[in-house]
């Protein structure tokens, strides 16, 4: 397993680790059977349904998983922090992988979990504020984890 220095940095010093008791949205992807599980917590400001205006002002995560999973979660949290929901929805696994200077091929599946779980948290937020219609348009976790 050859991890980049960036990966190792985020793994050893993950940013935004933790939970949030009163989060505006939470999202969990993965499961322990596959060996990777991530939960993200977001606080939104302003708490509007305008995706261009609402921003992730605070973000926290917890991860059960390999080095890549932890680094991905940390990197994704940094990338999402301060951005509008619209910008975060546009975030892709590649953005995260690029941000980490790449991942070994066998670890690419981890890179998906990060953005997926954040998107799941945004869906949760939108649902909570009564915008299921918007939430449904966002892809969160895949139905089946292989």
């Amino acid at each position: 397993m050859q991890y980049s220095q960036k990966v190792m940095d985020h793994f050893m010093n993950p940013r935004n680790v933790g939970e949030m008791q009163d989060a505006d949205g939470t999202g969990t992807c993965g499961n322990p059977v596959c060996g990777d599980l991530m939960t993200f917590y977001v606080r939104i400001e302003p708490r509007t349904d305008e995706l261009e205006k609402a921003r992730i002002c605070e973000i926290r995560f917890k991860t059960f998983g390999c080095g890549a999973a932890i680094a991905v979660a940390s990197m994704a949290s940094e990338m999402a922090k301060g951005k509008t929901l619209s910008q975060v929805i546009d975030l892709s696994r590649n953005d995260v992988t690029d941000g980490l200077d790449g991942l070994p091929p066998v670890k690419m599946h981890c890179s998906n979990l990060g953005v997926q779980a954040i998107h799941e948290a945004i869906k949760d937020y939108l649902t909570k504020i009564g915008r299921q219609d918007l939430a449904e348009k966002i892809r969160g976790c895949p139905k089946e984890e292989h």
Binding site: M8, V33, G35, M38, K62, T63, G65, C66, H146
Partner: protein, 391 residues
Amino acid sequence: MIYLDYNATTPTDQRVIKAMLPYFHDISANPSSIHNAGQKARQAVESARATLAKMLKCQTDEIYFTSGGTESDNIAVKGTAFAGGKRKKIVTSAIEHHAVLTTCEYMHKFGFEIVKVPVDQYGIVDLNVLEKEVDDDTLLVSVMHANNEIGTLQPIREVSKITQRHGAIFHTDAVQTVGKMPIDIPSMGIDMLSLSGHKFYGPKGVGALVVRKGMRFDPLSHGGHHEQRKRAGTENVPGIVGLGKTCEIAIDEMDAEEKRLRKLRDRLWQGISTKVSELKLNGHPEKRLANTLNFSVKYIEGESMLLQLNMNDIGASSGSACTSGSLEASHVLLAMGVPHDMAHGSLRFSLGRFNTETDIDKVISVFPGIVEKLRAISPLYKPSITGMHKE
């Protein structure tokens, strides 16, 4: 680095390297050549063969040199299967090394029925199921001597007796035991046995398959008339010489080494398990390789522990999927009934010749902090809310 990954591979003993060195350049001819240079190489190969035979209590012409444990396992399974005959069933265990397991599965393509006998919670094959499965249609029974991940030792004599009763061939993958504990092929009732040099301080890329006289098997590699026409390819003379020397050393030192490693290993488990909560020992507490310690750490995943250990200059391994490039957790742990998350959270420390008490104590002092750090970021670990989790 404090190397605690001896089951993955061992450094080659300096005495072995020294024994090999002349055979790279000075005595480097082909053992099949009739000139003196070739004959010197031939003698070296045959003398190594004699040492192996001595260690395993078998005949010299029952030893076939190979490129390692994987090749030996493949010859045993495919060679017997392809040699023909009416029997079409291969019985193996659920916890074999992939070199046996995947090979058996592959034989399905050629019309063989493959049965994987389950194991109990300690990783010991279920002899009742084995007894039921082995029948007169069974060609081969392949059950390993000791498992590489958990170290559990199998009841070889019992398996052999069941196999013999039905006239089937008994193969054992002894890659993890040869050179670490005494093996007596005839009295253990073994028909075929695989071993690999690099697992007991010999060179990589050389191993052997022992086949009792009278067993028929097709070569895996066809070609020249090497190894009684059963394993073609110019002999890896330095490798074979190295393997011979490795066995010579093992004969002398394995007993004392076994005792030393058992003590170190138990010290390690003792130290870790009193300092860290919610661990689960994997494998049989006693019927187990003296050098192997495998346990699961609840709420966290194996690779992340390995990386943290690595940052502390400690090398170990894990049965987590994440280290193998597949999404599946260790088939061995799953077969023993270990839940997926605990299988992903497993660690293997395998000890060896160059480990000292100081090494062990370093691990004991470093490990609790690693667990604490990783549990702190795990969504599964919630001591603040639920108090101490229980199973």
